[in-house]
């Protein structure tokens, strides 16, 4: 019988790790993996609340989040391939065409 708060704290820490990775990493693929980490952290909150309130809706939302994450990663990785093909780099600091 683990309190709900423990799950939420674990979820928050994982989300913070995802945010930190998004901010400090420079490889575009690793940044993308940090986004996946954030989605996973949110899923943990959903499942913990679903178990806490005895509602299945939370787990269904996890299902939908996973579908959207799969679609997002397919399109995102295709974009990464396209970026690599035109700029020949994965470093986000060097993809700065829109920078003033």
């Amino acid at each position: 019988m683990v309190p709900l708060g423990y799950y939420l704290v674990l979820s928050a820490i994982l989300f913070a790790c995802g945010v930190a990775g998004f901010l400090i990493k420079r490889n575009i693929i690793t940044i993308f993996m940090s986004i996946e980490l954030m989605l996973n952290a949110v899923n943990l909150s959903f499942v913990a609340f679903a178990a806490h309130w005895h509602m299945l809706s939370g787990q269904l939302f996890v299902f939908f989040v996973m579908v959207v994450a799969a679609a997002e990663s397919a399109v995102g990785l295709a974009i990464i391939i396209a970026v690599f093909r035109t700029r020949a780099t994965l470093d986000v600091d060097r993809v700065d065409l829109l920078k003033l």
Partner: protein, 166 residues
């Protein structure tokens, strides 16, 4: 007691994976530690009784999505990322203390708040595939069908974006 033990073991595993994702320089190492995080989270889902979610976490996330990531890393032959030219002083003076303060405050609020202290029933299987399917094909039928269109569009978009232009 065993539930606490399992929660802390898999929680620590997930945290170690997440921190290793940040610490590693090579994308393949980051991807492998992300797989560890996802496996540990699947175990947490099982502790919460969400069987179906735990299984699709392994199959879809750790299986399909991460394989896609690793394929792209190998396809693009991604090497180690260049080290940044020293971390900024502002990050050390303000960033990390602020992060620590927010983390402690958040943990305090989440653990001390009243409803959060109620124990989550462990092992009671609320998320069996039968129950999920009953929900998915009755009240959530429209969103479920819309996701199929979303996936179709994503497949076409991925093919169009990654295609070699002539």
């Amino acid at each position: 007691m065993i539930h606490y033990l399992l929660f802390f073991i898999f929680g620590a595993l997930a945290l170690a994976g997440a921190i290793n994702l940040l610490a590693q320089k090579h994308p393949i190492a980051s991807a492998l530690s992300l797989i560890v995080v996802m496996g540990a989270l699947a175990a947490e889902y099982l502790l919460l009784g969400a069987e179906f979610v735990a299984v699709i976490q392994i199959i879809v996330y750790a299986g399909a999505i991460m394989v896609l990531f690793i394929f792209v890393i190998m396809l693009l032959n991604a090497g180690e990322e260049a080290s940044s030219g020293g971390s900024s002083r502002v990050a050390w003076i303000f960033g990390f203390p602020a992060m620590l303060a927010i983390g402690i405050l958040l943990a305090w609020v989440l653990v001390k708040r009243d409803p959060a202290n109620m124990p989550v029933p462990v092992g009671a299987t609320y998320g069996s595939p039968t129950l999920i399917a009953q929900q998915l094909f009755k009240p959530y039928l429209l969103p479920f069908e819309v996701t199929s269109i979303l996936v179709l569009i994503a497949i076409m978009g991925a093919v169009v974006l990654a295609r070699k232009e002539n």
